[in-house]
């Protein structure tokens, strides 16, 4: 039993009227603070699970051969935020490894949007994630997780280093702090709202 898997009996269930699950995905390089951010915003202790897929990415062809070398296991964690009586938002911490992107559509298709979490000491780690999100047409914001040891960089410098277009919002955050982590989600949803209203008026 994984210590982060909480006992369902100890976890508050959703209200009886809950009917719509939404998702936001946090992506970024290894150790950039994805799980930390999920934990900070979640009303439950983060849970984790996994998807097992064949290399072709279509499904488990033969569960009896799940140990075979042509299957891939991708683990991810997630937290939950009850928004109102009907809406519940799930926040996923994507795995750091690149091969996970083969599963993007299957796992995270239909996501509202993504947060790219960035560590200024390892900016290059986020290039791939940004490239993939653009490829999939998933709207995103970039959040710079401020690690104390990192040399401070202005957001404009980070934007340039990541070759981000001016319309991608950037935020500073401390993933360990609930208010800060929540403001990142609000930043993302504000961005989505702007995109959505712009589209609706054209």
């Amino acid at each position: 039993m994984d210590s982060t898997t909480s006992d369902p009996a100890l976890r508050a269930p959703l209200g009886p009227a809950a009917d719509t699950g939404l998702k936001i995905v946090v992506v970024g390089g290894f150790g950039v603070g994805k799980t930390t951010l999920v934990r900070s915003v979640s009303e439950i202790r983060p849970l984790n699970t996994e998807e097992v897929l064949t290399q072709a990415g279509v499904g488990v062809d033969d569960p009896s051969g799940a140990a075979g070398k042509n299957t891939t296991t991708v683990a991810f964690d997630f937290g939950r935020i009850t928004l109102d009586a009907r809406l519940v938002l799930y926040v996923f911490g994507a795995p750091g490894q690149k091969r996970f992107w083969f599963l993007w559509e299957r796992l995270f298709g239909g996501t509202l949007g993504a947060v790219v979490l960035v560590d200024t000491r390892r900016l290059a780690d986020s290039w791939y994630a940004i490239d993939r999100l653009e490829h999939h047409g998933t709207p995103f914001v970039v959040a710079v997780n401020r690690f104390a040891e990192a040399v401070p960089h202005g957001l404009a410098d980070v934007r340039e280093a990541l070759s981000l277009s001016a319309d991608v919002p950037m935020l500073d955050c401390d993933a360990r702090e609930r208010a800060s982590a929540t403001s990142v989600l609000i930043g993302l949803v504000n961005h989505l709202y702007d995109l959505s209203t712009a589209r609706e008026t054209t």
Binding site: T5, P46, T49, V60, P63, G65, A66, V189, E200
Partner: protein, 118 residues
């Protein structure tokens, strides 16, 4: 975070659970689709089906069921598909978020309101 290994030590069990089926036909089960029990467990059900019916007395997302059962999402979808087919559970999705397009601003406004009230 370290991933929990799949039950690879017991591939036979995974096979038994899914009856060797390839994958769920029920593509409508998203990770965050909320599932609700429509009946109590009955004698003769597998322990996994019983667990699902107990868990889903209140709406529970597919991914939470997967985490609680400690089974991969694919296997969980197949098990849920069994219960959907026999109407022992229902899936709630009145307002599916369209894939590859933005949800409408009304829904996003509700999300924002919810986040601001945290």
């Amino acid at each position: 975070m370290t991933g929990r290994p799949v039950d690879l030590g017991e591939p036979d069990r995974l096979y038994t659970l899914t009856g060797g089926r390839h994958r769920s036909d029920d593509a409508c089960l998203d990770l965050v689709t909320l599932v609700v029990s429509e009946s109590d467990p009955a004698p003769g059900m597998t322990s996994e089906h019983v667990r699902i019916l107990e868990l889903c007395r209140r709406p529970t997302a597919v991914v939470e069921v997967s985490a609680d059962l400690r089974l991969p999402v694919t296997v969980t979808r197949i098990l849920l598909g069994d219960l959907l087919a026999t109407r022992r559970v229902t899936a709630r999705h009145p307002r599916p978020v369209p894939r590859a397009t933005l949800p409408d601003s009304t829904l996003l406004k509700q999300v924002l309101d919810g986040l601001h009230h945290l």
